[in-house]
Symmetry: C2
Subunit: 515 residues, 2 copies
């Protein structure tokens, strides 16, 4: 058994069941080892951003780390932006990064030599470089342990090629993973008391407590105490829609957030940080907690947030279930042009239960949500770190976790172009993913932001940097070029027909929705 085989067996024994890879020469022994480990699946992606985004989507749906397989420093570099998103979303990922053999690393003139520890360290919570083949298995157990530390970490193991090809002894047994910390009963009691003090209160939820058990407990608390339930604009996964308590989304823009939070006297943080704006703007606040509003913490992100909510509900004697969302069946929009609101309405009408919705829809997003939040129950996975383009890669990873669930990836045209290679993996793996590209032929968010940041007297060079009209991207051809069936919808009628068809059939599909 060589080092790579000892590593693949160790990862699999430690519960890593899938490897998203874009390998090169230095990873060949790892790739060869996949065939000797039936517990691990290998999924090829054509770009490292897809690898990282897929691992993020997989983690959001399972709570478990996938492995990524990346090719030296530059390969890791291509994964950084979506690893950043995963890290911001507190998702576990195990990165395996091949590097030059230790014997080769003394030659900086080798083209692929790099400061690999600096590149990998820039976005990793845990980082280690294997020193010898005999230590690789132990390192493999440790990287999984590090990734699974609550609430989820980016853990990176740099694997020099000779530590992969030299002889090793045996796989290493899994290392224990600490359960998320239990919130102290004194904290529960303190928050319970605060919820009875008559102040206008909101619970701000983040992370795994936004899945159904946490949302149910939060709903009971809200029902009993009158507290509002909030989630950040960008949240890794929210289970919502029919049959679940509604958690309100904090708006995107500073002035909207201020209005939204106005009057709150206390905010209880459940795995969440105090709300701040996405960007700073001249003469606008970044800190948006109302003046005088107290911030209380029920649970930190590495604690059992759902358990804390359940304990809090019990402490309040909140026996009644929360008010739940009744599905609103929006009217079918009149025949006419498409916009975000009528796309959302059509989706909310026609979506089956239990969709996984990967959302990177930027300016379209707000319009879409008006109907979707009262639609059928679904898991909603949103861009968490601001590195756009991850809807389709996340959908790859999410779809592999749940072959019986329909996955929808929705993005803008600008954002879709960062990681379009995900479509090829959808075709290769026959994933049941419908990708919707809302094509407004612009980086439209920047047209909005340009005014908001106070930039004035915009000339043609400036406006050209925000515009995608010349030439217009043809997402139908782009999708077909990667083996994905595709169609274009320019009217509500066309979109409804195409979306209905996509919901009824299985397999990868793209709809370019021209808005």
């Amino acid at each position: 058994m060589n080092g790579a085989e000892s590593l693949v067996h160790t990862l699999a024994d430690s519960g890593v069941e899938i490897c998203f890879g874009n390998p090169g020469t230095s990873e060949m022994h790892f790739v060869a080892a996949l065939d000797h480990e039936p517990k691990m699946r290998g999924v090829l992606c054509l770009f490292e951003g897809v690898v990282a985004g897929a691992a993020d989507g997989y983690a959001r749906m399972t709570g478990k780390p996938a492995a990524t397989l990346l090719h030296l420093g530059p390969g890791f570099g291509n994964a950084i932006s979506f690893l950043h998103n995963a890290r911001k979303g507190h998702q576990p990922i195990v990165n395996i990064v091949g590097d030059h053999a230790i014997s080769h690393s003394k030659y900086p003139q080798a083209p692929l030599s790099s400061d690999i520890m600096a590149i990998c360290g820039s976005v990793s919570d845990w980082l280690h470089q294997c020193k010898s083949a005999s230590e690789v298995a132990g390192d493999g157990a440790r990287v999984v342990q590090a990734a699974r530390a609550a609430p989820g970490k980016i853990a990176t193991l740099v694997l020099p090629a000779d530590t992969a090809w030299n002889q090793a002894v045996a796989p290493a047994p899994p290392l224990p993973v600490a359960a998320p910390g239990k919130v102290d009963s004194a904290v529960i009691d303190r928050i319970a008391a605060a919820l009875k003090n008559g102040k206008r209160t909101a619970l701000l939820l983040w992370g795994s407590c936004l899945q159904s058990a946490g949302v149910d407990a939060a709903g009971r608390i809200a029902q009993q105490s009158g507290a509002r339930l909030l989630h950040d604009y960008f949240t890794p996964r929210l289970t919502r829609g029919e049959g679940l308590s509604e958690v309100e989304r904090i708006p995107y823009f500073a002035e909207d957030i201020v209005e939204f939070l106005k009057g709150l006297e206390q905010i209880v943080l459940v795995g969440a940080a105090p709300p701040v704006t996405f960007f700073a703007y001249p003469d606008k606040p970044s800190w948006v907690t109302p003046e005088g509003c107290e911030l209380l913490t029920l649970a930190e992100p590495d604690e059992d947030m759902t358990g804390a909510l359940q304990a809090l509900a019990d402490a309040l004697g909140a026996k009644q279930p929360g008010r739940i969302v009744t599905r609103v069946m929006p009217d079918m929009p009149q025949h006419g042009g498409l916009d975000a609101e009528n796309i959302g309405a059509i989706m909310a009408r026609l979506m089956p239960d239990n969709v996984i919705l990967c959302d990177d829809s930027i300016t379209c997003g707000r319009g879409l949500q008006k109907s979707l939040r009262y639609g059928p129950r679904h898991d909603w996975l949103v861009l968490t770190g601001g590195a756009i383009g991850d809807a389709a890669p996340m959908a790859v990873g999410a779809a592999l976790t749940a072959p019986d669930r329909k996955v929808i990836a929705i993005s803008g045209d600008g954002s879709a172009m960062y990681s379009l290679q995900a479509l090829w993996t959808m075709a290769r793996e026959r994933l049941d993913v419908v990708t919707i590209v809302c094509a407004n032929r612009a980086y439209n968010i920047l047209n909005i932001e340009m005014a908001r940041v106070g930039a004035r007297n915009l000339g043609p060079k400036t406006l050209a940097m925000l515009d995608l009209h010349d030439p217009e991207l043809d997402f139908v051809k782009l999708a077909q070029g990667m083996g994905v069936e595709a169609s274009r919808a320019e009217t509500t009628t066309e979109f409804a027909a195409q979306f209905a068809d996509a919901m009824q059939r299985r397999g990868p599909r793209l709809i370019e929705a021209v808005i």
Copy 2:
């Protein structure tokens, strides 16, 4: 004048004439400032890898830095792999990276907050974060100075949004850039003496001395002394073909290099590092300088390498021009299937003079070169850092430097998929670039490397990770989807007709050459 305006004017006054950008909100003031600076052009790219690769291509053709405009830490992350290539090729690039306003940076919970200095520092030779709007102009002059330090550096300026939007005073004047160091005459004399000592000698050339003046001087030296002229397999720019002295390419694989260098008793390094293999392999050497062969240094990369070659030629009394390449017009290949050799032959027959050839053709490359090196004179820009996919992005930058020259980007199908978004910028800017994708439906280099690294007993999971057949990429549709005219050639006759047509017309064009 705000900080961004002071920066744009300063960059332009310092000789930065073009900005390749993929901006976001934090870069809006910089973008707005472009309209007030007629000396700077803005070019929009749809992915940061294209931004970095274009800046690399621009630098290789001009010796000058372009600016890149990147969006916070994740945006820089997406540029790392091609910045790595540029750095390995010693190219100057000025990166302007927007970041959160300083006032916002105390909120780690903001989605786009990151360890931006770590991300940028991992591949930058020079790095600074602006502290206030009034200092931005001075920082701008310094970042250009740093980038232009010989032989060319990756210089990165992090621009917090408030330092861009707050009031500044004025642009800063350009700072002096030291000319490359002059090689001491004692060194010239020592090498001249070595070239007369009767030992079997090669000159190994790197960097700017591989353009015509340096190659001409090297040719005189070779003619006079009998020394061989060599260049590394991956070199940033070589002017070659008809009318120039031939510089031999060191092979890719270790055993081929050993054979190629066999018998050499001294190697004179001209800006080059001693040759090593690209990767290490079990039981093969990384260090390939023959045993007992002496390594002498004529010039370091930051010295005037071309001047040193000219001085050496003069010191040798080398008045005769070197032996120059006479163009070999290969026979038109018989009608039949395409392979790398007959693609190269057709190109060498039909290429006009003065093509800029951006080459990321991986396994096809060796076959192509058999004819191309004896073809019409051209500049050949090769992947320098091993991060594949940069042919098309480099072609974007190169084409913008020379609107009267035909640019050809040639890549494999695997490599083309890393940065296909470059095609859109070619269409938008009406660049005269012909992109050739040699589609072998595989990561073919890995099929070769798998055996060479000693991986055995390959099973179906392993082989699938190297294969691009399922589904087959359709580069004609992919190009058309980005507004680039495209065609597919499956035979020599088809390829010859399409390539001839592409050479005669202007504007972006893609040919998928199925091999």
